[in-house]
Amino acid sequence: MLKSTYKPSGNVPPPLPPGWTEHKAPTGHTYYYNEETKESTYTRPGAQAPPPPPAPSDPHASFFQYSTIPQLSDPAAANAFLAQYDPARQRQADSFTHHGRGGHRGFDDRRDRPRPQPIDKPKSKVAIPGCEPWILVYTKYGRRFAYNPAKNASYWRIPEKVMKGVLELDINSIKEKAGARMGDSSKAEEPDSQSKDDAVQDGKTKEQEQEQELGSDYEEVEVTDDEDEEREDGDGGDDDEHPSKRQRTEEPTDDMPVEFNEDDIAYQLQAMGEEYGLDPGEYDDGNPEAWPEGAEGLPFSEEDARETFKDLLNDHGINPYSPWEKLIEDGRIIEDPRYTVLGTMKARRDVWEEWSRARIQVLKEQRAREEKKDPKIPYLALLQQKASPKLYWPEFRRKYKKEPAMRDTSLSDRDREKWYREHIARLRLPPDQLKKDLAALLREIPPRELHNQSLLENLPSRLLADLRYISLDPKVRDPLIEAYVRTLGPPPEAGEAAEGEETEAARKAREARRKREKALEERERAVAEEKRRQRRQIEHGRAALREEEREIERAMQVGKKGLQSQLLAEREKRRQEEGGALEEELGDGKDK
């Protein structure tokens, strides 16, 4: 659809209630005026209006939304978000869910985060060695950000050029602490990944303890937009800041590990589909073979689309002679849902061309058939209504020059004048004479045109285009004609058959159209389902992406030892596994 994707952002004031208009006073103040009540005010009347409905959840919107999230470079916004980040709680939750690093931490513990959001404040600052203007600022909640007083810029995400200095700083502080109280890590500054690698060598228990304390400092800062996203996904419902941003329908459960694989999603979809009362074909559970019969719906072919578009053109009463540009500028057809059955403007234009050509041909044929209908008939009808012996021809012409019958180009003025004069002359004749003339005229008309089934509204043009027909007043004339028609015999047979054929053709056309409309409905449903599937895929992809990002992050936390530490970790893991296997074996032995 050609609908604007523009969505008003949050800081735009709510729309004015109907009737109110916004104006600027000469002083520059904005004021509001209500035309109905003649009331004007400086305060915006829309304030009491109900808030706009939450944004519709379509995949594109959610995309835009996510692409705009990292406003965390703005400390104020980041503060608001991170202030809910309670270190104590985090520690507690981590100790429950921490089996090895990474994984899916942070999904569930954030759900029960306290609602009140105290404001985080900077507490202490340290100059970063090697990058002179930069300062590392620690906040009340133990978070930190890099601050450049020269540019007055601060970043939660520590910039890469400063990163080296920060690392150095951390290493120093850890060394200091290690010197001060060896092994005591319960109250320590969070160690970075490098110190952890050292700790691996020290002992397993200590490492675990350290890890339970908190994720590394870098992680806490660097993960922020990722976390932000998760947070919104996971618990968009319970924070007040972004009530309209909830996109996900799957709420992660509290006690389960929140890994979403295909099965889970498929299961949820099925559940949702059942909830909404959809057929399996409508939400596409992945195995079309298992659908019940007929779930796929009627096919909607290209030909049907073209025909539907032609129906649209017919229904809107488009003038086939008008240029295409005018049709588009008018924009009436664009509102119609059938406008989108054709995907491209070129296709639409092609169909329109085809339609207009055919339509013009039809009109021409119709006109050729109607050509028998004399242009004289409307003119004579006008004469019967308006002409009177009191008006001379020039007066009559001037008075009624706006009438379409008078403007018709196919009649010449000379003829018009002649008929007018004749008509006026005949009006002076005695009524008996006029009646006789009418009877003579009726007798002249062959039985094919005038018979006992012909109606007053549908008299032959030969009769209508005669001056003798209009010279009598309709009140006198119509009963006469009716009486005469009743005395006539039935019409010859030939006409009947043709009429029957015509109705048959019309019926067929109607039926075809009904079929097309049904197919269109089916297609719309199919499109909706496709959209739903795409949204699901996007969500799934996003989950996979987050997972990958997390993996990459984990992989990135290789310290200075580089490959060696990786290998060590690997060895450690293997040893653990072996130990586990040994224990199992032991357990087995005991059982035996």
Binding site: N319, P320, Y321, S322, P323, E325, K326, E353, S356, R357, I360, L363, T409, S410
Partner: protein, 149 residues
């Protein structure tokens, strides 16, 4: 003494079928009149006549399509329209030639009026233009009228 040619004698009444298209032609006439009457004070000099050219092109195209593509009007009416200035016969004559099917205006193929004896930039196919530039020709504001576009 030669016969005095009155207004009426010069204006023959239009052939049948004119009623169908007279509304659209009137719309074009109104548009043209508006374009002629808009002040061009703050418009660059070379752009002042662009709307005139564009409307003339649209109207000619309308008549051309009615007669040659849709076959909606009779030959008499078509000729009457040409004679009465509703369409540009010279432009339509070009449209019938291969390679000129979409020509925007006659000035754009007038090679003698240019410095290097070449046609206008709008005659260059989009595919041959370097790096997707958005051109508008000087004479009529055309954005490209090559047949392959």
């Amino acid at each position: 003494m030669p016969a005095i040619r009155t207004h009426a004698s010069r204006q023959k009444k239009p052939p049948a079928g004119f009623d169908d298209i007279s509304d659209d032609l009137e719309i074009f006439a109104i548009k043209m009149k508006d374009a002629q009457n808009t002040p061009t004070n703050n418009v660059p000099k070379h752009q002042a006549q662009w709307p005139i050219f564009q409307i003339a092109h649209q109207r000619s195209r309308y008549v051309y399509e009615l007669y040659y593509e849709k076959e909606a009007i009779s030959r008499q009416l078509y000729e009457w329209l040409l004679k009465n200035g509703y369409a540009d016969a010279m432009l339509i004559a070009k449209w019938k030639k291969q390679g000129y099917e979409k020509l925007c205006c006659l000035r754009c193929i007038q090679t003698k009026e240019t410095n290097f004896q070449s046609t206008c930039i709008c005659r260059v196919p989009k595919a041959q233009l370097k790096d997707e530039q958005d051109v508008q020709c000087v004479s009529c504001g055309c954005r490209g009228c090559a047949s392959s576009d």
